[in-house]
């Protein structure tokens, strides 16, 4: 754990989960993660967020190290259990503590953790809670990534406690992020958690940029002591700008699709387009999600299994749909032996707006001359589309 003073009377409680390799039973965590709480000493003592229930004992150990005798308020920025999970045990150990939440946060904590109503103090956007010299200002920031989320800004020390926003799954013994170390984990985190909420983040960033921030203290991963670095990275990711990249999630069972993909990669590369193929039987889906953040085009490549696409292709296509990337062009390539309904089944997965679907290429058997011609044409179409849209 990292229990360390970052500002006058403000302490980190970073609980590393070095070995955790999966989040939500879905997202790979190659670098583990941390659950971050912050303790503020003043006339009133405040704990900002708690920890995953598996780390409750560690949280209590940290509070003991800090010699905490009473807690007046626990700010719950976000009701998800990796930050709120220790609350039931915490309020029985510190029965005087009140939980400071948004209206929705109260509803969620009541239904998810069965916390009684009288424990809550509900705050609204812009409200300030004075705890002595320190003043906590609450900023409602719904949909990053739940509808109840708030950010907490400590005015005296200019610290923004941003909860999941600007977070990263990175178990480290460092308190502060190092720019070249944090970019990839932060982008991965954005891709997996925040990307569907680009338009909301845009509005929140406008609010945040009006605030004088010295430190951004998230609930996962290290603190950003250079806020413009992470804010600028987010601005780039949420912008409508796409890069001259083609992402190809693919599966090949007997080599036909692999041959198509291999040929197609070379044709795109010759045109100066960056290609990112992902063999879904081997790939880390987090890497695939990162590649969705700014690619202009996605080409799904699948064999036919029992008339439809390979189930792993369905999986990747569903992720693509729910992560709502800013991708501009999409197509499907693939192969079948005697019949296929792949395109129809996959088209039901395609987001219906803001994406242009290019004519799919589904061939019979192993690719032949005519099929390579079709792939040449698709590569050329993608090149022209990127050029027309000033992506090249």
């Amino acid at each position: 754990m990292i229990v360390s003073e970052i500002k006058d009377g403000i302490y980190t409680i970073f609980l590393q989960d070095w070995d955790r390799r999966l989040f939500d039973e879905l997202i790979p965590l190659p670098d583990g993660t941390t659950y971050n709480s912050y303790f503020l000493f003043d006339e009133k003592n405040v704990l900002i967020d708690t920890a995953d229930p598996v780390k409750t004992e560690k949280l209590f150990e940290a509070l003991k190290r800090l010699n905490v005798k009473k807690i007046d308020y626990v700010v719950s920025n976000h009701s998800e259990q990796d930050h709120s999970g220790s609350l039931p045990d915490l309020i029985s150990k510190f029965p005087e503590a009140k939980i400071v939440v948004s209206e929705k946060g109260k509803k969620f904590l009541t239904s998810l953790l069965l916390i009684p109503e009288e424990k809550f103090i509900v705050i609204k956007d812009g409200e300030v809670l004075s705890i002595g010299e320190k003043k906590l200002r609450f900023i409602e920031a719904p949909w990053v990534h739940w509808p109840e989320t708030i950010l907490t800004y400590e005015e005296k020390n200019k610290v923004l406690f941003s909860c999941d926003l600007f977070g990263s799954h990175l178990a480290t013994s460092k308190i502060y992020s190092c720019e070249n170390e944090i970019y990839e984990p932060a982008k991965r985190y954005y891709a997996e958690i925040m990307m569907p909420f680009r338009t909301h983040i845009k509005k929140h960033l406008e609010k945040i940029e009006k605030v004088d921030i010295d430190l951004i203290a998230p609930s996962h991963g290290p603190i950003h002591n250079s806020p413009p670095f992470i804010i600028d990275a987010y601005k780039d990711w949420i912008s409508d700008n796409v890069k001259n990249e083609v992402v190809i999630p693919y599966i090949s069972m007997h080599g036909s699709v692999a041959k198509m993909v291999d040929y197609f990669i070379d044709r795109l590369t010759e045109k100066g387009i960056v290609v990112k193929p992902f063999n879904l039987s081997k790939t880390d889906i987090g890497q695939l999600a990162i590649s969705f953040v700014d690619a202009a085009t996605v080409i799904i490549a699948s064999p036919t299994v029992l008339a439809g696409p390979h189930p792993l292709i369905f999986y990747a296509s569903y992720l693509f749909k729910i992560l709502r990337p800013k991708t501009k062009f999409l197509s499907i390539i693939g192969s079948y032996a005697w019949g296929t309904n792949m395109v129809k089944l996959l088209s039901e997965m395609v987001p219906s707006r803001d994406i242009e679907v290019l004519e799919p290429i589904v061939i019979k058997g192993y690719p032949k001359e005519d099929d390579f011609d079709l792939l040449d044409n698709l590569a050329e179409r993608i090149y022209i589309k990127h050029k027309e849209n000033k992506i090249i």
């Binding site: 719904p142 569907p196 909420f197 909301h200 987001p351 707006r353």
Partner: protein, 61 residues
């Protein structure tokens, strides 16, 4: 003599499939029952997945 019934249209979220039913409104988010879709505030979002009004289309049935 002829009673004209005004039927408020339902709208469906194209991202997650949530259906906005004007007769029910969205009281959890401050939208009273009986509010037609067109009268929802601009910053109203799908209560299930968070997308804006522009991602909704009229429900056909």
């Amino acid at each position: 003599m002829f009673k004209r019934e005004i039927v408020m249209e339902k709208y469906v979220c194209e991202v997650c499939g949530y259906v906005y039913v004007p007769e029910k409104g969205d009281p959890e988010n401050g939208i009273e029952a009986g509010t037609p879709f067109e009268k929802l505030p601009d910053d109203w979002v799908c209560p299930v997945c968070g997308v804006g009004k522009e991602q909704f289309k009229k429900k056909e049935d």
